[in-house]
Symmetry: C2
Subunit: 356 residues, 2 copies
DNA sequence: GTCGGCGATGCATACGTATGCAGTCGTTTT
DNA sequence: AAAACGACTGCATACGTATGCATCGCCGAC
């Protein structure tokens, strides 16, 4: 389309192509007077540096690849939380002058190396819930690969990770419920080995119980894949098994929404009968009925940290896996348990609602 | 990382770099025996074509830019529907051998030209609900820009569009309700000039009424920005104004979810008292309670058509704006109105539920 | 036996930029 | 006055590939 080259700009400005290149890149070598003239002309002619040539010469692509794990094969939807992450990462990269190359795939081949050896991207950010633990472990081995994964930070695991402090998130969510007088708190979520982040949230849940000296009942654990449906079905099972819960901590907002629907379909009211806490803080979640108490993962920060970590890695700087602190957002889906009820510490049905 | 070049492969294979290049690109000029040898060696050495060099020489980037309109400034969330679209577009592009460059921005500058003149992308796909109509009009003027927009197809509008046949979608949704005996059907959605797609859905709603000879009451129109909250608030207004509806057609699934919540909070049951139909068919929507009757936009097809249209445009082929047919998905949130009720044609509260 | 033709390959070059090095010119140092 | 220096600028080249053109060997045709 625009076939203006640096050479033509040079001619118009009465300088050499080298000077044009230097002026545009802000080299201190070029006189400010000259630079201004060059920039003005380049602007007038609507000149844009040819990225291909620039990349070829500089051997840098100024591009990061974003791989989103597509588990549509697994039947579960892509969590809307990821849209938020994708947007945050893309914006953070843009701030650093980097483009984002997007790809939805099953993590299976060695794209990471491919992206770099083909000079398409300088590094890769991987996004997705579990199901790829083995693959990540393999990636970790490639210590020359520039790859940062959003996910669980596990000691001793090879590779570089940025993730939410899921243990702490699970802890504060559960502590909030314990502090509110609840003693029979269910955990709904996928705690298979495939999803270390959910295992971590579960670990936080257990830790809070231990600190509180509260009992943990296996009856209160319900597996659920990370979708709305998963939450719905898990909650149904809990009810059917007579778990006698007064609260539920869900590994995912979607799980929480599903659980709330299940409760409602059985005429169990949230938060009057059962308090529910989610995880993620999806944008729309604040407007549900009742508005969901949840653990917020700050996607904007996460995007920045992911990009910065990856760029450090590319630069060769030493990099450490980082945990981001989650934040408890208390809304209407959780409430203080009545004293008496807390004392007798049981019963799924509490009709008297003092707190709205 | 991988510093293997075509020249080195050539040496190993005992041929020239030209032959390596041709072999890799599948040129018919090269002997099949030679090709095999070259491919085998290239594979062994894990050779990858340097994209920058290839792009520079061929003057093609094999990349499409995907611009997602970020109206986070407007306060409304990015609809999860777009995540589905983004994934579909990315996969469709991948099938054609194209990469996707992602960007979240306010549509304001002339990126389209920039992407092309910098050789970053061969074309641009724009994604987003309203708020950018003026901008699109401006883009349409740049007839040399390779740009396809997902959105309303309006006669006489400059530019190239691919969109859902929103009028027909609105029509079949409304007809479904009319056929089911409903006569007081609310429309919930943003029908401002900014969002032609919603105006089109509204137009379909009106057309169905006209064909049916059914009356349209202004009391039944409720504006709502395209979020869950918007739907909630609009439904609240309808109830408060005593619109006397027995059904609601919502411009968006999110609107529908919000509306259902609002109804429920007023003890109006869906579908027993009010039938609700949405639009989009969000992946998670099938598992809500009640499962939402909605108008499906097939994102996979949309992705393919968008990419193919854009590539045609790049090739210089004549291109026409295309409308994709939506499909009515009947689930549990809509039901047949009882005969008598239909006869008296009114009343927001119908307690007797014959159909589950 | 010469020539045209065809299949296959190599040669040479251009794509547009970034950058090491050398050059220029004016100013300062000795 | 000569030398050294500093601030700019231009020259030349390389990045790795794709491709037009020339070349080469071989076979069939006349």
């Amino acid at each position: 389309m625009n076939r203006v080259t640096a050479g033509e700009i040079a001619e118009l400005a009465g300088v050499s192509q080298s000077t044009v290149s230097r002026a545009l890149r802000g080299s201190p070598l070029v006189n400010s007077k000259t630079r201004e003239r060059v920039l003005r002309i380049a602007n007038e002619k609507n000149y844009k540096v040819n990225t291909s040539a620039s990349r070829l010469r500089s051997r840098k692509s100024r591009t990061l690849a974003l791989l989103v794990h597509d588990d549509s094969a697994m039947g579960s939807d892509i969590n809307p939380f990821f849209l938020s992450m994708i947007a945050a990462i893309t914006k953070a990269a843009a701030e650093k002058g980097y483009d984002i190359l997007l790809s939805f795939q099953q993590f299976s081949d060695n794209w990471i190396a491919d992206y770099e050896s083909s000079n398409k991207a300088e590094g890769v950010i991987m996004l997705g819930y579990g199901g790829y633990t083995d693959y990540i472990r393999k990636i970790g081995m490639l210590d020359n690969a520039h790859c940062v994964t959003w996910g669980p930070v596990i000691d001793g695991q090879p590779g570089h990770f940025v993730g939410c402090d899921n243990i702490h998130g699970g802890y504060i969510a559960t502590k909030h419920l314990l502090d509110s007088g609840h003693r029979r708190i269910a955990f709904i979520g996928d705690i298979s080995d495939d999803c270390p982040e959910f295992q971590a949230r579960y670990a936080g849940y257990r830790r809070a119980h231990e600190e509180f000296g509260a009992d943990l009942s296996p009856l209160l654990q319900a597996r659920a894949n990370p979708s709305e449906r998963g939450g719905y079905e898990a909650a149904e099972r809990l009810i059917d098994q007579g778990a006698g819960l007064t609260a539920a901590f869900c590994a995912t907002d979607l799980n929480a929404i599903g659980a709330i629907r299940a409760f409602r379909s059985r005429n169990i009211l949230v938060p009057a009968d059962v308090s529910v806490v989610g995880f993620d803080d999806l944008p729309s979640i604040a407007y549900t009925t009742p508005a969901l108490t949840t653990v917020r993962q700050d996607t904007a920060t996460a995007g920045h940290v992911l990009v910065e970590t990856l760029l450090d890695l590319v630069r060769g700087t030493d990099v450490i896996s980082r945990l981001l602190p989650p934040e408890l957002i208390v809304r209407q889906s959780s409430r203080q348990l009545r004293r008496e009820a807390a004392a007798e510490s049981s019963g799924p049905r509490l009709s008297d609602a003092r707190t709205a």
